[in-house]
Symmetry: C2
Subunit: 328 residues, 2 copies
């Protein structure tokens, strides 16, 4: 198996990517990792790693990067020699089996749609992300498509359920539609039409409209929504989690007695923080593409990349994309 | 001043409404409160209150109620003798100065638009709700209009800023547009067009696109968004707050040591819970209407109603609606 990785994408490139790659490469000597980016910078970063440069890591050199400010619509043409474009091209040309990047999400979405292409019949590819509650929820779309139709939402329900079944080992996943109320007439005309399609589709275990306040209690395994709302939900959970954790920290450091409590509660507080930590789930796949492309969070650290690579590898091993293609 | 109150709306009607009304009536003997609903049930509920039936409370009898399941589009015609419809009619006919209900939001929105009517030139009325962070944010729309245009968002920015200025005493309120990224090209075409209108409008202190993860840090005083997204945000904050608080409780009761910590931390934990409690801010006004209509949360208790009545009274005293009307 050959895993192509964009070494130059995200806030912590290339250092954390190199560290994560090292961990994966050592653990999986039979897997080839193709690290795409500035060779000098990658080798410089490798000096921070305690250990030899692994034999199964190959550097594919380019010093062109895509920044977060680059316009997704033109970047693939103008920067066809960037680390992201090269990775997608390698995937397309069958020189890699999966591609992973923590770079510009919009560029990765547009680029993968143009170069890797979607599964035949699929209208839009979606970012499928895990909301890390006690029972995890696979939410799609998390940000690629601000506007959708009912047909697109229905396709995502089918694709997301299959992904959850294989990758998260959930039998007959419960699918919910994110809406502003549980009644069937709630939301925009698109939500109302999607509700009908989902209710009538016997291949989908549809559990109805899901209100956002229910989300922490995992009322479904797969939550479908447009990419605008999904992005708002994802970032609000992230922002509130961090805010509450820092408020709690302030509480515990307010006086001597509370500081004593802190030492008692340290373990539990760590668990509390973990509730909002999606690192364990690694990257988020673009579902609907004919080949596997994973997006890692822009702020990913070594351990996140390590997990993202693990997910990418598992997705290939289980031929998730092939199974989804055969469904549609 | 005459405050009309729907005694039959919400999960805790009429008991908690009656209790809240009693507190307000005793505190404000010069204000007349018109309690609309089933006279026998209201008087029965009053037995739970320790004190005399206040002279300044008048019961307007009806035994017709609007339920949460009633279709907002037809309910005003079919149930024109319901407590909600009577209240709106009294406001329209100048028999009351403000109306407050904890009932069916959709019915209240449709009903108030039909009966009370909007301010001339206003395209849609919005529910303006307070997100109760350290620095509160006035968010509109919180759920009345799932679909909007850029012009509507611009109007809400103007109306919301004036409301925040008068009611929350904020000088030159910072207005933000909820979006899936801070860059000006983010979101749907409606968001992109709204961004341009807001940037170019010199009467609006526009601080740009706001990502949901920033919300807890109050990057703006007024946050404009469509009612679908606003509703998702409002309910997610509510749901996550409750979920985290109950997770914390579990943490503190897990063993003897943590239970000891709990006694130490009790005060701080209460403060933590208060962070997600909007009770202090009472009801949410429907902004854009020519007369003041307030919506109380369906699960409101006596103290929430007391605060909602206080807000409604203040809104009249300060002639907020008149000032907004003159603006447009």
């Amino acid at each position: 198996m050959r895993i192509a990785i964009d070494a130059m994408g995200g806030d912590n490139a290339p250092l954390e990517i190199v560290k994560g790659t090292y961990l994966s490469a050592v653990e999986n000597p039979a897997v080839d990792i193709l690290l795409i980016g500035d060779k000098a910078k990658i080798l410089e970063a490798f000096k921070e790693v305690e250990g030899e440069f692994p034999n199964n890591v190959k550097i594919v050199h380019t010093n062109v990067e895509i920044s977060m400010e680059d316009d997704p619509m033109v970047v693939m043409k103008e920067k066809s020699d960037s680390s992201m474009a090269i990775g997608l091209s390698m995937l397309k040309e069958n020189e890699a089996d999966v591609f992973l990047s923590a770079g510009n999400t919009g560029a990765l979405h547009v680029g993968s749609t143009l170069m890797v292409r979607k599964i035949k019949g699929v209208r839009r590819s979606a970012i499928a992300t895990i909301l890390p509650f006690k029972t995890p929820i696979l939410m799609l779309d998390a940000g690629a498509n601000p506007e959708v139709t009912e047909d697109i939402l229905q396709q995502w329900a089918i694709i997301g359920a299959k992904y959850a079944e294989i990758m998260l080992s959930i039998n007959n996943p419960r699918v919910g539609l994110l809406n502003n109320g549980t009644e069937e007439k709630k939301g925009t005309p698109v939500h109302q039409a999607a509700y009908q399609l989902l209710v009538e589709n016997e291949n989908i275990n549809f559990v109805g409209n899901i209100e956002s306040k229910q989300i922490p209690h995992s009322p479904c395994d797969v939550l479908v929504t447009d990419g605008f709302t999904g992005n708002i939900v994802l970032k609000l959970i992230e922002g509130l989690g961090m805010y509450m954790f820092s408020s709690l920290k302030d509480m515990f450091t307010s006086n001597l007695l509370t500081k004593l409590s802190y030492t008692t509660m340290k373990g539990q507080l760590k668990e509390f923080k973990m509730m909002f930590d999606a690192s364990e789930y690694g990257g988020a796949p673009f579902l609907g593409l004919s080949k596997p492309v994973f997006k890692a969070h822009g702020s990913s650290k070594a351990y996140d990349f390590y997990n993202a690579i693990k997910q990418a590898k598992r997705c290939c091993e289980l031929d998730v994309i092939g199974t989804i293609s055969n469904l549609l």
